[in-house]
């Protein structure tokens, strides 16, 4: 490109060439991703406090021992598990239903498709604000409806029975559109003749879906499910803003708990333990994901 460089043919073609490209992003990720991650794991072995984050004493597995006998940890793990599985199940089902509903052309399809994507496109903080207002106990629209149909006033976000369910509603609104888009793309590979033939043979809609449609969209559904699972483990803002993890920890997933322990209790060491557990969970899902993908690409290669 520059005059001097262009006089050196193959300057970048030697064995160092790839590293010239890999190094800048690798160094950057090393500094801002992997080093902090290592620090986080190290912190879990110390008694570091937020009030003096650079000074902490090594205390071995003390934090782990303390946390493993703390019921709050198991509560938080349970919430994380339920939230992740629930989000995958509800989000993917809703997304697939949306995709099947608007797959074939109809009047107003582009508009319907656009509106169905709103929940995915609205920034999380803005979404949290409007849902907080709709969930408002005294004047929110959901309680207007609940009262009108005789259910009475519901404490959507402040009762342990309802809070997680309410969070699920917002989560599904947010992730289902993405699943829908992924599945819609996959549905284009389903041969319409095959569906038609099954219908002529007298198969009902559900059988057609199971026998003809689903095998074609299964890889897409799998990818979507894994992404939704990953996002559920990562999701912080929505829960933090809607319930802050409450009431009584009923919506406190690991990441919400982590931030609370770090920035409200000032216990960075303990937060580190939550981080380590979160890391293991995230890596597990990531590994499953990776293995499935490897298997699929091998299968594609050998076909």
């Amino acid at each position: 490109m520059a005059g001097g460089a262009s006089k050196l043919p193959g300057r970048f073609a030697g064995p160092i060439a790839p590293y010239a490209f890999v190094l800048p992003p690798a160094v950057y990720l090393g500094i801002f991703m992997f080093w902090p991650l290592a620090r986080q794991l190290w912190m879990s072995l110390t008694d570091t406090r937020l009030t003096n984050p650079t000074a902490g004493n090594f205390i071995g597995l003390g934090n782990y021992e303390r946390l493993l006998s703390d019921p709050a940890l198991y509560a938080s793990l349970r919430v994380t598990l339920i939230y992740t599985l629930g989000s995958v199940l509800l989000g993917v089902t809703t997304g697939v239903v949306c995709a099947l509903a608007i797959d074939r052309p109809f009047r107003g399809r582009p508009v319907a498709r656009a509106i169905l994507l709103f929940g995915w496109a609205v920034p999380t903080v803005a979404a949290s604000l409007i849902w907080l207002w709709m969930f408002n106990e005294r004047s929110g629209v959901f309680n207007d409806i609940a009262i009108a149909i005789g259910l009475g006033r519901i404490r959507w976000l402040t009762s342990t029975d309802m809070a997680l369910a309410s969070i699920f509603a917002v989560t599904v609104w947010n992730v289902a559109p993405f699943v829908m888009l992924v599945v819609l793309a996959a549905l284009q590979s389903v041969p319409e003749e095959a569906r038609e033939a099954a219908r002529v043979d007298g198969a009902d809609a559900l059988s057609v879906f199971r026998a003809v449609t689903y095998p074609h969209i299964r890889p897409a559904v799998q990818i979507a499910a894994l992404l939704v699972a990953v996002w559920s483990i990562r999701r912080f803002e929505l829960i933090y803003l809607l319930t802050g993890g409450g009431p009584l920890g009923s919506t406190s997933t690991l990441v919400v708990k982590l931030r609370q322990v770090a920035f409200e209790n000032y216990e960075l060491g303990m937060a580190g333990v939550y981080g380590a557990i979160g890391l293991v969970l995230a890596l597990l899902v990531g590994a499953v994901h990776y293995l499935i993908e490897q298997r699929r690409s091998n299968w594609m290669a050998h076909r």
């Binding site: 490209f21 991650l37 929940g119 920034p123 609104w173 990562r234 803002e237 990441v255 993908e293």
Partner: protein, 272 residues
């Protein structure tokens, strides 16, 4: 026939459920406090309240917040695209020692929760003087957009025949020049998709921003909006109006490039 009607009912139900929160945001923004909290919220947007809403919006620093959001988003996009295209190019074009590990680590960064590194980054930023600094926030954000950008760009580059680059190499064009002048222009749609994803990741980001930016004048819109929660001095209609302004660019761009974004995100998930 019955199926057709049922399908329409299903579609209408889904569309109403998906669209209602945004409709309600607009309706709330155009209501008065009295309607919202005592006489009952009007069910349709009262456009005659628009001038009053605009007057109220000028009392909060929404312009400043949107500007900060824009700076953070643009910075995140630049860092993520520059480093992501280097990484994507290396993964697409070279076989080198450590390629497998690089791909795997890059893949794994996508599953890391932000919350996991927020504490160490906070400690690190104190010592580096990056706390309370938009640049520091950009550097923290871009780490999470970079892998997505890298995978999107890599899969786009995989589709470009290598011969095009070979002819350029014969003309003594260095590899870096080949990337910026030949490869990237050929995959502009994917660059745009990666850019939009990075931009709105930065635009929407909240956790890092609320942790690292202590100075109110540096707040982006996400942090400013969240500061209204549990605070009653600002009318709710103003808050919703600001939330709507904050959402419109995101909605518009996501709708515009939806297909590319999905292809990109799943490509990132697929290619290890």
């Amino acid at each position: 026939m019955v199926m057709g009607v049922l399908r329409y009912i299903l579609i209408i139900t889904l569309v109403v459920m998906a669209g209602f929160p945004v409709y309600w945001m607009a309706t709330t923004a155009l209501s008065t406090n009295a309607e919202l909290f005592s006489t009952g919220q009007v069910r349709w947007p009262q456009l005659q309240n628009l001038p009053a809403l605009i007057g109220e919006l000028s009392k909060i620093p929404i312009g400043r917040w949107l500007f900060n959001s824009g700076v953070i988003a643009a910075g995140t996009t630049i860092v993520s695209l520059v480093l992501g295209s280097l990484m994507g190019y290396a993964l697409s074009r070279f076989r080198f020692r450590g390629r497998g590990i690089a791909g795997f680590l890059l893949f794994m960064t996508q599953v890391l929760p932000e919350a996991l590194i927020v504490v160490p980054l906070y400690a690190m930023f104190i010592t580096m003087g990056l706390l309370n600094n938009l640049g520091g926030l950009v550097l923290a954000n871009a780490g999470f957009s970079l892998p997505v950008s890298a995978f999107i760009l890599k899969s786009a580059m995989d589709a470009i025949p290598y011969e095009i680059e070979e002819s350029a190499a014969i003309d003594n064009c260095p590899r870096f020049g080949i990337l910026t002048m030949i490869v990237l222009p050929l995959i502009m749609p994917s660059v745009a998709a990666a850019g939009v994803i990075s931009f709105f990741a930065g635009w929407n980001e909240f956790l890092f921003a609320t942790t690292f930016l202590l100075d109110r004048s540096l707040w982006p819109t996400s942090v400013g909006l969240a500061s209204f929660i549990g605070q009653y001095e600002t009318p709710l209609s103003t808050v919703m109006g600001a939330a709507l302004i904050f959402s419109i660019p995101a909605i518009a761009f996501f709708l515009l490039v939806q297909r590319k974004i999905v292809a990109g995100l799943t490509a990132g998930a697929v290619k290890g």
